[in-house]
Structure formats: C-alpha cells, structure tokens
Symmetry: C2
Subunit: 453 residues, 2 copies
C-alpha cells in the first residue's frame, strides 16, 4: 500500500517557486513556425516538509511569461502549506486536486487552463516526486505497483463521466495485471522506444541535416520528425532530403505547430502525402477539436494520421478530441494539464477510445518526466509498445541530477526514487532568472537584454 | 472614416494596470454553486498618450488572482508602449491583436486563454475606449457608423475561416445597412431590454425572494433568472415560488454555473422542465462544446434551450459550440475573450449560425461595456431584439463616471464618448488592493485578512 509507509505527521512547511531560464534562443534550437526564439525555461518548485525529504516539480515555458506562472504558484501555495501529506493530500488526492483547481475566486481566471493550470502542474508534479521518494521508487514503478483503486482515486473525474467512470478505469488496470511482470522485465532490459526531432528544426543547412540523419540512424532511431508549414516548396525539399537519408521503411512525421487554418492544413498536407507521412502534428489551433476531426477525416485516405496534445489544456479538451475522432496519436505533455493526476485520466480515455499515446517531450525536464508516465502505460494500461514512441531531444539533460538515459534509441527506465525532476544546485545558481550568474554575465556583456516591468 | 481624425503622431506613452477589488463577498451577493464568495474585482488599465486623451479598460475577476492578471498586463505592455495609435494599431488592428496574443514566447502560457487572454481583453478594451473618444462617440455608435471593411479589418480570422471569412462578415454588415437609422432611432427612444438575476441568488429567504420578484415586475422586467444545482428539491421550491410571483407568460431561466457532469445535467433539468424553463445556463464545463451539444439535444424536446459563454475562453471554442449545435443562446462576456475585436467575430458567427446573443453581465463594469456591443448587434448584425436580452445586475454602477442607465427594464444607449469604462477617481483611492483606504480600514478593523505571498 502506497500510503501505509507515510508518517501521518509529515507535512508541507513551504513551497518555493524559482524562475529558471536558459538562453537557448541564442543557438536557434527548438524554433518552429510559431515559436521562433524559445528560451527553454521552467518554474521549478521545491516542496519542503517538516522532515528532510523534499519534492521537486516543474512546468515548462518558453521564457517570457515564466514569472507570471511563478506568481500563480505563489497564489496556490497559500492553499497548500501546512497540509499533512498523507491524510490531507495523498489519501484524498482527487479532492485535493479539485480544491486547488477550483478555488472559489481563482478559478475565474482559468478555470483549468493557461497560466493557472501550468502552475497547478508544477506543484502536482512535485507532490508525485515526493510520493515516489516516500515509497523509495521511481515514479513509473510507484504507478505500476500501486493498487488500482488507490491509483484511480487520485483522479478527479468531474466532466469526464459521460465517457469514462472510475470503475472503468479500475477495470482497465485490473486487466493490465496480466503478464505485467513480463512487461516490467522487458522494459528493464530494452527500455522504451523514442523518436527524434533533432533532424527537424527549421534553418539547418542541407548538409547538416543529412549528417544528423546519418548520426541518428546510426544511434538506432527509426522515426524522425520534421517541422513544416512556412513554405511548401521548402517543406517538400526537406521531406525529400530526409527520405533519401532514412529510406522508406523508417517513419517520418511532420509538425506544423498550429500554423494553419483547417482547410489550409488539408490542402498543404495533400501536397506532402507522397513522402509517406506517418502523422501531421498540430495542424491547427490546439483548442480546435472539431477542426482536427475535419482534418483527420480528410487525411485518413492518404494514410496520414493526426497528432496533437502538447498544448491541449485539460482533460475536457482531450475528451472532445477523442469523442470527435480527431486524433490517431495523443501527445500528452508532462508539464501541461494539471499534472500527473489529470494526465492519468487522459491515458485511461485513450485506452478506451483505442488511441495511441505518443508523448511530447524535448523542453527542459519534459523527457525526464514523461518517460515515467509512458512506461506505466506500457506496464499497466495499453500494455503495448506497438506504434508508440516518446519524443526525444538531446538537450539540457545535464542540468538534472537524474538525467534521461537513452540507449539504442530507447529510454532506459529510471532507477532513482522520484520523478527525475531535481535540478543540480549549481544549475540553479547559474540560470535562475534574472539573478543567476550566467544571466548576470550575459546582461553585463550585452549578449541579452533584461526587460523589466 | 474612423481613422482620418486621428493624429498620426499620437502614441502610447504608458500602460498602467491597477488591482481593484470590492469586498462584495461580505454581503453574499453574486454567490453561486461554484463561486461561493466572490469579491467583484477588476484589473483597471489606463493607457496614456502623448496628448491629454486617455483610454480606460478592464477585465473582471472574483478577487484572488487579480494580481496575476495584472502582472500579465505588465508583460504585454512592453509590446505596446511607444506605438502610434493610428498606423501601428487601429489601421492594422488584426495584426496588432495577433502580435500581442501570439508573442513568440508568451503564447506558450496560453495561447489565447486564461490569465493572458484576460490581460489582453483589458488592454484591448482600453484601446477601443480610446478610439471611440478620438471619434467623440460612444462605442456602440462608433461600431454602428464604421465602414464595414474597416470594422471587419480589426478581426483576426485565424482558425475561423472554415466557418466564416472576412468577406462574409462584410456582407453581413452591408445587409445590416437597411433600415439602420430606424433601428438607431428605436434604440435611442426605447433602449435595449434586460433581464434580472437579482431575484436568483442562492441563500435568500422565501419572503425576500417574493418581494424582489414583485419589485422587478413593477420595474417592468419580464425575464428572470434563478441559480440552481445544489439541491433539486430546493431548486423546485424556488422555481415554484418564482412562477407564483411572475406567472407563466414571463420568462424564467436557470443557471447551474458548471456544477454538473453531462448526464447529470440532463437528468436534473428533466425534473425542472415543468416550470417552463427558457434556458439552462452553464450546465457543465465551459470547455465542453460536445457535452453541451449532448445536453442541448436531450433538452430540446422539453423546450429548454442551452446557454453558455461567460467563461468561454476564445473564438475557437465559440466556433465549436456553434458547429456542434450546442447553444441556443450565446452569452458573450465583454471582459473575457481577447477584447472587442474577438467578440465581434463571435457576433458574426452567431449571425451565420442563427444563434441568439444574450450577453452575460453583472460583474463590475460588465454591464457598462457589454451594452455597447449588444446595441451594435441590433443596429448592424442581427438587426433584431426578438428573444434577446442583456443581463442586468444592479450593483457597483455608482463606481463609474458613466454608469448604465436602465429605464423600464431597458438599457438606455450611452451618450458619453468611449466605452463607459472610466472609474471614479475617489473609487480608485478607496478600493485599489491592498493599499486603498477602504481595504486598509478593513484590514485594521479585522473585517478581512490580507494574504501575502
């Protein structure tokens, strides 16, 4: 039982939220059609207890605005500090989650979306890191070993019961008990497959892109993603180039990062279909479930699936994407939606609708976290790795105490207790914004400008 | 032409955002099933120019969290200060709107929803107040008199073109030129009808509720709204009581403020149907277009329409509510969505789908603003008042320099130039949070507690 080991007197004494930013825009990595200058950033939460144990959690952003999410976390912290971890939180996690997402005044500025829901995610993720540490297990293993009723009890099913009930979720987990140990063993041996976006950023030269394809093929990757949507001829050129390098048996996906309207997405993708595209990611607004459904219907005859989810704001929106048959691939993001509890509900819905979860990752900390969730999906929910991957970007892992471990294009299961969310101490000293030593140096040297308001 | 009168050198020199709160929770007014203790609040924006003219705008909140929206406005202001009003903003308002809603880093913490979109609304509303003043007209009249192409040019149609194009919107306005002067004259003479929510708050005694019904009937009201959703027997009791007072020819609407799941909403409303309910408002999550559609389909045979929109986050969500036949009544809110420009697009979509716009109002400043938009709908878009109302709550109007003027249950058209958004100077001195004199007094006397973080 994942509650019995927790001292009833253990309680939260403080929640610290740090504005962490890295100047990644200087290198041009991570840029796409909509986000041309991302500074990979996060608000980094430390939950301190009346014992020495601490929990770490984060939510990802692109830089500016990080301080607004930080302020959201400070507002939430007044609802949380002083609570006992076992009886006020983990033993009634669904109710606790609703209390912080539905605070009677604050919910008006959401509800359950945007800044405040990112703030919730960071805090909730820190609470799961703490819970896993209290059980001395990596998070994927905590989830995998957890009693089905207890796991499902962490989820707030409000607004979901027309498509899934707690009883159905418990039944899914009970079905997943069969051959679970075999899957755990397989995971420990082979890991979980990932695909690479590294060959795909806009702005690389042809030669460099070819070289990257060769490198990632050599590393064992068999699925590759390209950014598209700014110029059709240029998109065709890059698709052709990548197909020349990776051949036609490996998978090629493209990502438009929300650049198109619905009809434009359909027309554009028809003109890329001859490159055997496995999925088109974020063809239009992340809020447009029915728009995605229209696109999915039009592209299905061409063998192109629709993928979305990294900016899908909450379970209610995911529910509609699934109800509308708008997705073949569901790309949950570990730092969006209201943290682990709500993401679990999305996995259950995907299982019920037969939709493959292929998580978004890449931004700072996202790979570290989401690998845990997807490994649990394999051991306990979908129980398969067929046609499933986790995104992988080889960036900023060295900032973490327990970085991802990718071998032969597979994430190897984390072994350290927790959610792999802890940043190194010297990293915080360097990259806390704006007072970290690296930022101060860059301001002084005129490399970047500090905007105050 | 609504641009020719603007000096090309007029520019924005500062944007001030004030955290304004009123302790309305002490009186229990405005409470509903989800929001039990609202302190009607707003972030109040003042745009200063290099001339004496200023623009005022606001976005409404329930108190806590107001400071987070305020911070969002400060982040946006760095993108706006220094711009020339004519050539950088009004002459290309769609592009300006996209620049501030899609800033390459900040959009990640939205996009176009929650805290940041409320912040956008406050700034955009202040810009419209300023524009109307530059033309020396109340906003409804500025919109009514504006050249159709110029008006439509203010709207960013991104993600809407699968249901409406700029050309279609221009055509709607051109159709609306017919008999426009007659409608303006009618409006100036009779005003625009409103309904009252004042009889409907939870927690009133039977006698007080009967007395309020009598009072509002005497004032000329013929449409009344009740809060429901906490207790079915209590709801039936209050519906019966109100029907006894107002009879069966007047309209009765109920509002659940998002309390139910989809199937629960249907079952509950079946048990209220015998009270001849005109609409059920917010039966479930404001994000659940498909859920509302299911409810609307089930309740249609009972003569109950579905209404929602006050917390609908953006035009893309409204689009889906309309596509899914989820609404009979569309309740736009003047302080949500990204301000006037985006709300205009919702009116055009409602016109196309044949859905009635019946705006939400009541919170501080909402009545003052939304009357302008609905009057424009009558003069220029739907061109009818049939089965349409604006909500009215008789609260906090005295805080404004140009308060609403309701006569015989009709909003009379504002005459002062602008968007009726200016707060009185002494009100700011009293209710700015936390340093206003009234808040300081209440802290000192222990009436309310100031939470810091």
């Amino acid at each position: 039982m994942a509650l019995a080991n927790i001292d009833e007197n253990l309680k939260i004494i403080s929640i610290d939220a740090k504005d962490m930013r890295w100047p990644t825009s200087l290198g041009g990595h991570g840029s796409d059609a909509m986000h041309t200058d991302p500074d990979y950033s996060c608000v980094y939460v430390t939950i301190k207890t009346n014992e020495t144990i601490e929990g770490y959690g984060l939510t990802f952003t692109l830089g500016r605005g990080n301080e607004i999410v930080q302020m959201g976390i400070r507002a939430l912290s007044t609802l949380i500090v002083g609570r006992r971890l076992r009886d006020d939180i983990y033993a009634r996690f669904d109710k606790f989650w609703r209390e912080i997402t539905s605070e009677t005044q604050i919910r008006w500025i959401g509800p359950e979306k945007g800044v405040m829901h990112l703030a919730v995610a960071a805090v909730i993720n820190a609470l799961w890191d703490l819970w896993a540490k209290l059980e001395n297990k990596p998070l994927w293993r905590l989830l995998t070993d957890m009693d089905p009723e207890l796991l499902v009890s962490t989820i707030d099913f409000r607004y979901l019961t027309d498509v899934i009930t707690p009883a159905e979720a418990v039944e899914i987990l009970k079905q997943g008990q069969k051959f679970k140990q075999e899957r755990i063993d397989e995971l420990l041996k082979d890991g979980y497959p990932c695909y690479t976006t590294q060959i795909g950023w806009l702005g690389y030269t042809d030669d460099y892109r070819r070289q990257l394809c060769k490198e990632y093929l050599a590393q064992g990757f068999n699925a590759f993603k390209l950014k598209v949507g700014q110029n059709l001829e240029d998109d065709r050129h890059r698709c052709r180039l990548v197909r020349e390098e990776i051949g036609w048996d490996n998978k090629l996906m493209v990502d438009a990062n929300q650049i198109w309207d619905v009809n434009e997405a359909i027309e554009w993708m028809k003109k890329l279909a001859d490159f055997k595209i496995w999925w088109i990611e974020e063809p239009t607004s992340p809020d447009d479930a029915l728009g995605h459904a229209t696109i999915a219907k039009a592209l299905k005859p061409l063998g192109i699936g629709v993928a979305s989810g990294e900016m899908c704001m909450n379970r209610i929106m995911f529910k509609q994407f699934l109800q509308a048959n708008a997705l073949e691939f569901c790309q949950i993001d570990s730092a969006r939606v209201g943290g682990v509890n709500e993401i679990l509900s999305v996995y259950f819905m995907c299982k019920k609708f037969g939709v493959k979860v292929v998580p978004h990752a890449g931004g700072v900390g996202l790979c570290e976290m989401v690998q845990h969730l997807q490994m649990w999906d394999f051991t306990s929910v979908s129980c398969t790795k067929t046609d499933r991957y986790v995104e992988y970007v080889d960036q900023q892992h060295d900032q973490f105490v327990y970085p991802t471990n990718v071998k032969n294009a597979h994430y190897m299961p984390p072994t350290a207790p927790g959610y792999s969310t802890e940043l190194k101490k010297d990293v915080i000293a360097k990259f806390e914004y704006p007072n970290g030593s690296e930022w101060q140096r860059m301001f002084k040297e005129g490399i970047v400008k500090h905007i105050t308001y």
